[in-house]
Symmetry: C2
Subunit: 546 residues, 2 copies
């Protein structure tokens, strides 16, 4: 949302967590009050800078200095194994190790590295993977034994998430946005001692790419941020090729060491063969309405830019948008993402000029990125960092977002289940919601017997002031900040209703989720993209039951 | 030269400038004495770190912190003109402005910027262009008036070089190698306040490329270093395209402002239509012998890597190497450069796997870089920086170099004429000589009536310990450090002679150059790639006469 373009504007007040105050608007230039129950200091985290509004980003930042080991010989950088790499990098107790999630649920590298670190007797390590998946379950054991005592990540699902909620990590986990992670790393707020980079292809001097080899995953946008700022960089590959690896997406001048292993991951889990559009009629209807909204907003003209995720409804939105662009003969400027075959198809049809891609979601996207120069990679910083000279999200017209919960203030939760157990995190959610001129949340009213439109979201991931529209099967709610948009949608015959109405419909005849007993101990902090803390997660008795 | 691969080795002692000591070898692990006449302090430069040997590079370096202006809106970064850009960047007296030389002798941008700076009344500016050409003659006037009082560059030819030699610049000019310039910028030794980047194509948010538009110049490898480290980055373009410019070689997250102008340069001077092989029989013979030497060295096998410049003899060497690779069915790993159509042809024939290109020398190279993914761009840091994690020169087998003078210690001068007047500079000369396993200087014995093989070079640009062979029309001299190589060449029937013999032949019946009266005032310092000072240039009475 380019707030400046709205002049003096209405912003939603944030709510107190336990407040029963009715939804209301307060006039002001910023949301300046911290109204979640966020303490000033959290043990294991330190002083907390509370979220005070989406525009609190500093106008200037210092990109941190980096201590670099220089290499003036052409000698191979190959090391025999990960243990040697840990030793050569001087990893000690308390070190911060980073990883990327381009291999998703097929990644073997983080597990391999932490197993070796444990064997070496290292303790108190902090891990900073861009995301964590069920495949990383062995991390739970390292948390229990004190090998790993801190986690910084943009997204976490599976056993690690449950273990964090159950209080098994010594220090609170830090949940970042993808852009916020780039900001934290570039600014030196999060100092990486060693970045381990899973590389589908590498040469012995550290040139790597993600488009060749059995573990090809496409763009390496998250790793790009890490290698620029880490004190040491270790490439781990299962496809060591003759020098020079070409294309070199990350080049040798950013890499200290290379380790060859039999398998960096399980190819079947790295990228899906193809991402699938929903077949659920309600989902399709929501998607159709979302496309109608984009149309009605007036944005569907030449130069249109668009991003959507890989979920079934998001893909359906893309399909409907594609139809409308074709029929209106609209030539868009760019699609961004997380990219799927659906978006690739739109590029190939000429509906977009080019793609900015931080991560390929399926094989068709990998192939397109490898072969089509109009399909460009981007670093996570270029994607969403609020503290560089301008991220791609800033130029985004429309973003399609999901939600676990949305509340009366349009706040969105994608971090926890409604019972407070960690499941997910922002990823690029808060970044794209902020940047895009039209941030659309698509969601059903309920998940099973539980309402998804709630009074207060369990956890605030993305502030409501950056969400423009919520689309459900029972109608569309427009953020009161966007009266202009509400008018356009009503004129176009779209069923615009107050969010309170959606809330009532969602909550009629539903169960309230049973909240597990909480000790009140903070087990995770959800950061906003600027590094302020927008919410906290507390320990739940036994997360895995929920 | 990977010195470490030779174990304990012989190194040449450096010579005192006025010493008449005979050429000799001294055993030692390093060349540790400063033996040029280099003062410990130079006014306008400060304390001087003298050159002490090619391996004096520090094993660790800090890549400097950078103060960045953050941009969270999608608003255009277009400014109406260069004056506004200078103001918005807060340029004050004493600021350091950088420029790249990808537009070579066709560049208009540095002149435009400095004219506007002068109009604004700015004084005491330091300019840091990667190279300076005759087209930059207007800089002389800015030197006279005190608008510009300092110059940092890798190469300088034309009126600016003569003016520097004549003492018209207030502070001594600092001559760097291309890799050394990247090192100085990355380390913060040379802090750039504003990098002005001439962009053949740009969008309004700062994505740029060099492959589209009337001023297409190809790779933007020198600019890449500047934009990563500069406090502010201003793109100047004559081809403003719809967002997003694609491909984006330099992306928006590194750019503050964009200025559109009618013409960033004179296209006819930016790249030559095609680079031409020498037709001079002596030059061809030298080139043929150089190719024989590469063959005899045993390096012409699969995996061979190669770099040569754009001069007529260098291109002839490439042609002869091409013939031998084809006939021996050798598949090389990479060619690096400064790239010409001759090298592109070898890539297209499959003689090399890929190209690392810091700068395209002709139209065919520009086209290849635009269209062939195996033709990769590289930053000047990746090319030759001695203080990153490993530059491309470190992996180079053979480099073909030119020389204005070579001396009995194999030191090479490409910085001045033999009368001491500035003309040129290292560019990548010293970087590639150091990095390559076989650094071959090709030169005729004389230029006109003047000997090119001399007792002491007028100015040391590249230390003799990094030069392996000197090839002339009268025989080949091998550096005594490389007894292994001398044996191989002799076995192959190549006419190996002592360098003293070449010196005698060159100096028989030649004139000694008339040295202009020197005031002794230091007007320029020639840095080695590590930033130490390897030689100094003193003022000459009237440079333009010589």
């Amino acid at each position: 949302m380019d707030l400046a373009s709205y002049g003096p504007y209405w912003v939603l007040s944030a709510r107190r967590v336990n407040s029963k105050l009715p939804f209301k608007l307060s006039r002001g230039s910023q949301m300046t009050r911290n109204v979640r129950n966020i303490p000033a200091f959290v043990a294991g985290y330190g002083p907390v800078r509370p979220f005070t509004g989406v525009d609190a980003v500093s106008r200037a930042i210092t990109r941190c200095a980096v201590d670099v080991r220089t290499e003036t010989t052409g000698r191979t950088k190959l090391l025999p194994d990960i243990v040697t790499a840990l030793r050569e990098c001087g990893v000690r107790d308390g070190a911060v190790l980073s990883f990327h999630h381009h291999l998703r649920n097929g990644d073997h590298v983080m597990n391999m590295v932490l197993d070796q670190a444990a064997r070496l007797g290292l303790r108190d390590l902090k891990v900073a993977p861009s995301s964590i998946f069920p495949v990383h379950a062995p991390l739970v054991e390292h948390m229990k034994t004190g090998v790993v005592t801190g986690v910084y990540t943009g997204y976490v699902a599976g056993p690690v998430a449950e273990a964090i909620s159950a209080g098994m990590l010594e220090n609170p986990a830090v949940l970042q946005t993808h852009g916020g992670r780039a900001r934290a790393i570039e600014s030196g707020e999060l100092t990486i001692d060693v970045a381990f980079v899973a590389a589908p292809t590498a040469d012995d001097y550290g040139n790597i790419n993600g488009v060749q080899g059995r573990s090809a995953c496409g763009v390496l946008g998250y790793a790009e941020v890490d290698v620029r700022a880490a004190r040491r960089v270790v490439v781990v590959t299962d496809n060591l090729v003759a020098y020079p690896a070409c294309p070199a997406e990350i080049t040798q001048d950013f890499v200290d060491f290379v380790v060859a292993v039999p398998e960096i991951g399980d190819a079947t889990q790295i990228v899906s063969g193809s991402t699938q559009i929903t077949e659920d009629p309600a989902g399709l209807e929501i998607a159709r309405v979302a496309a109608d909204i984009i149309h009605a907003s007036g944005m569907l003209i030449d130069g249109f830019s668009f991003q959507t995720g890989a979920g079934g409804v998001s893909l359906a939105v893309a399909k409907y948008v594609e139809e409308r662009m074709r029929s209106k003969n609209v030539r868009g400027s760019f699609a961004a993402g997380g990219v799927t075959g659906t978006i690739v198809e739109m590029l190939e049809e000429g509906l977009f000029q080019s793609i900015f891609d931080v991560q390929c979601f399926d094989l068709r996207a990998v192939r397109s990125y490898r072969e089509n120069p109009l399909h460009q990679g981007m670093s996570a910083s270029l994607y969403g960092n609020p503290c560089n000279r301008g991220a791609v999200v800033n130029r985004l017209d429309t973003m399609i977002l999901g939600a676990a919960e949305v509340d009366l203030d349009f706040n969105v939760n994608v971090s926890t289940r409604s019972n407070g157990v960690l499941l997910g995190g922002s990823g690029g959610h808060a970044d794209t919601a902020f940047g895009s001129k039209l941030a659309i949340v698509t969601t059903k009213l309920r998940a099973g017997k539980f309402a998804k439109i709630v009074e207060n979201v369990t956890t605030v991931t993305t502030p409501g002031s950056t969400i423009d529209v919520v689309v459900t099967e029972a109608g569309v709610a427009v953020n009161p900040r966007r009266a202009d948009l509400a008018d356009r949608l009503a004129t176009a015959g779209i069923n615009v209703v107050p969010i309170a109405r959606l809330h009532d419909l969602a909550n009629a005849d539903t169960q309230r989720p049973v909240s597990p007993a909480s000790s009140g101990r903070i087990v995770a902090l959800q950061q906003y993209r600027d590094g302020s803390v927008i919410d906290v997660l507390t320990k739940v008795a036994s997360a895995s039951q929920f």
